[in-house]
């Protein structure tokens, strides 16, 4: 009896959590007549890819298609990932492998900096981007997201670097490897999985970001996907079929990446609170 109640509660929770995602995908596969019918269909009766075809082949504004926005987002996110991964790896090696005077101060700063409300930085960063002449360019976003993703990336990578046994590096050094060689041939391959996990977080940060992309980009051809979605969809009289198809295409890469690394997310955020 108790078991049934627990399982029932579990099913309710699962339904509440997963339903919107299901409904998004399900709606994207329904013909418009089913979407706008007065009785909703739980499952698409006549599944169709028409909405996907519509957004992938049509132009949202003259000369700019969904794929262009997708590409803009991908350029920004991938550039952020590469730069942030590189810089974070160096910094993580410093804090995980060396004891030096400012080490603790740096770690505290990393924690504090992650708590800065980024929403409060839109105005000064807008000023900086204007001054640098980067307004309305994709690099303005790459630069911004680099700053946002770096503290968490260093914090997370630190653990991965520390987990590599020092003996391996010592052995390499005894065999006459230079520091650069030790780093490249020994440490790097062993930290690579951690670097992938960290990169995924930077990717998601950059891919999902809306406010800064909304503010720094003026030219519609350079919109990232989130900005394009708030601009062209979500207005009154929304045509939900294409909107849900676009949402699905935007969401799926994030969900896939996310599920690959979510364990690290918990341990990174609660930083030592949970032992084990």
């Amino acid at each position: 009896m108790k078991k049934i109640a627990l399982n029932g509660a579990g099913l309710l929770v699962a339904l509440f959590a997963a339903f919107p995602v299901y409904w998004m995908i399900s709606t994207s596969l329904k013909p418009s007549s089913e979407i706008f019918s007065s009785t909703p269909q739980p499952v698409p009766a006549h599944p169709t890819l028409a909405h996907y075809r519509e957004i992938l082949t049509g132009n949202l504004i003259p000369g700019v298609s969904f794929l262009d926005f997708f590409l803009n987002s991908a350029i920004v996110a991938v550039s952020t990932v590469v730069l942030s991964g590189l810089v974070a790896l160096l910094a993580a090696t410093a804090v995980a492998r060396f004891r030096f005077k400012l080490r603790t101060s740096f770690l505290i700063m990393l924690l504090v900096v992650q708590m800065i409300p980024l929403e409060a930085l839109v105005i000064p960063l807008f000023l900086m981007i204007q001054r640098l002449g980067l307004y309305n360019t994709l690099p303005s976003l790459i630069l911004t997201y680099l700053g946002f993703s770096l503290p968490f990336a260093v914090w997370m990578l630190r653990g991965f670097v520390a987990a590599v046994p020092k003996e391996l590096e010592e052995a390499a050094a005894i065999d006459g490897a230079s520091r650069a060689q030790t780093f490249r041939r020994v440490l790097f391959p062993l930290v690579a999985p951690g670097l992938v996990a960290t990169s995924i977080f930077s990717f998601i940060t950059a891919w999902n970001e809306l406010i800064f992309a909304l503010t720094f980009i003026n030219d519609q051809g350079r919109y990232t996907l989130p900005v394009a979605m708030t601009f062209f969809f979500g207005r009154d009289d929304t045509n939900w079929g294409p909107v849900m198809a676009a949402s699905t295409l935007f969401t799926l890469p994030v969900i896939i990446f996310f599920l690959l690394v979510q364990r690290r997310m918990v341990s990174g955020l609660v930083a030592g609170a949970v032992k084990g």
Binding site: I35, T144, W207, V270
Partner: protein, 328 residues
């Protein structure tokens, strides 16, 4: 202490002690330099600058580009904001929204965490996977889907309310036809839906963290208490909660910080920055600065107020994390 620095004799012997010491000192700083530069220039400097900007009257982009003077107004922006009764509405919205959301997220998240801990393995995996989906969904698309669910003609909620027996619907709500009902029109209803969207998105993190905490606690204590006939309520408050207190502390602080600065969900749900009665601090700051006519100085002052509130909360967070790093 260090590996790359304390190289065994074979490699170290080639260097004079003096040279070796210098290298020992410099390398970590060299490795940190790019990160420090980026964090300094892109996070710390703007943080200082937002304070600086809040003391000026900045009403055009040309001022930002440096083509025009920046008139100093001292605390003028702050007195403007604080003397505007609208600010009180915004502050009230922000604080009440954050409190309600933290409370609901924590309660729901903890209950789900406890539930996951009690379920059988197969069921727990299934429920946890579904919960992960809500967490993984970007705030943007999650909000768009909820907006579709609350669509006033073909949305699921509108259909549900239409499906209620007319008599019941009339007695409860005073209407039976819900088609065309503006779910987002009254501020209270808007905040209720926004709360639903935000809690839906943030309870999974709490649930998973609480579950991770529970797994690290020896289960004998719970079993012993249960054998002794303690009610689940008592077991939670007398055993689970004290053991997980540090986890709960950090989760509450993180949730508070996140819920104080909700932006994307509100922006998408309200369809922009026009719905002033539902403004909270972050969207208020953004709207003042970037909706024409631009008032960057005023927006900066609001951003500073938001930051100060969060600074206090952050202080608690850092103290808690440091205490735990010491313990472990």
């Amino acid at each position: 202490m260090t590996t790359l620095t304390e190289v065994p004799e074979a490699a170290a012997a080639r260097e004079t002690p003096a040279r070796r010491r210098r290298r020992v000192d410099r390398l970590p700083y060299l490795l940190l330099l790019p990160a420090l530069l980026i964090i300094g220039v892109l996070l710390l400097w703007p943080l200082g600058q937002v304070v600086g900007m809040s003391f000026y009257r900045l009403n055009s982009v040309r001022q930002l580009r440096g083509d025009r003077e920046w008139p100093w107004v001292g605390l003028g922006n702050y007195t403007d904001i604080l003397s505007d009764p609208f600010f009180l509405t915004v502050l009230r919205n922000t604080v009440l929204f954050a409190l309600a959301n933290v409370l609901l997220t924590m309660v729901l998240g903890t209950l789900v965490g406890l539930l996951l801990n009690r379920l059988g393995r197969r069921m727990a995996t299934f429920v946890a996977s579904c919960v992960m989906l809500a967490w993984a969904t970007p705030a943007l698309t999650g909000t768009i889907v909820w907006k579709w669910i609350f669509d006033d003609t073909s949305g699921l909620v509108t259909w549900l309310f239409n499906a209620l027996p007319d008599g019941l619907s009339n007695t409860l709500f005073g209407r039976s036809d819900w088609t065309g009902y503006g779910w987002f029109n009254s501020p209270l209803l808007f905040f209720a839906i926004l709360t639903l969207v935000v809690v839906w998105h943030s309870f999974p993190f709490i649930a998973v963290s609480v579950l991770a905490g529970l797994k690290s606690v020896p289960s004998e204590l719970h079993e012993a208490a249960r054998v002794d006939g303690a009610s689940p309520w008592r077991v939670f408050w007398k055993i689970t909660f004290p053991l997980l207190r540090p986890v709960f502390g950090i989760l509450i602080v993180l949730s508070t910080i996140w819920d104080f600065k909700v932006f994307t969900q509100q922006f998408v749900l309200a369809g922009g920055t026009q719905d002033r009665p539902t403004f909270m601090l972050s969207i208020y700051s953004y709207a003042e600065a970037f909706s024409p006519p631009p008032k960057y100085g005023l927006g900066a002052a609001i951003a500073v107020i938001l930051t100060l509130i969060l600074l206090v909360v952050t202080g608690f967070y850092v103290r808690m994390v440091l205490r735990q790093e010491d313990e472990s």
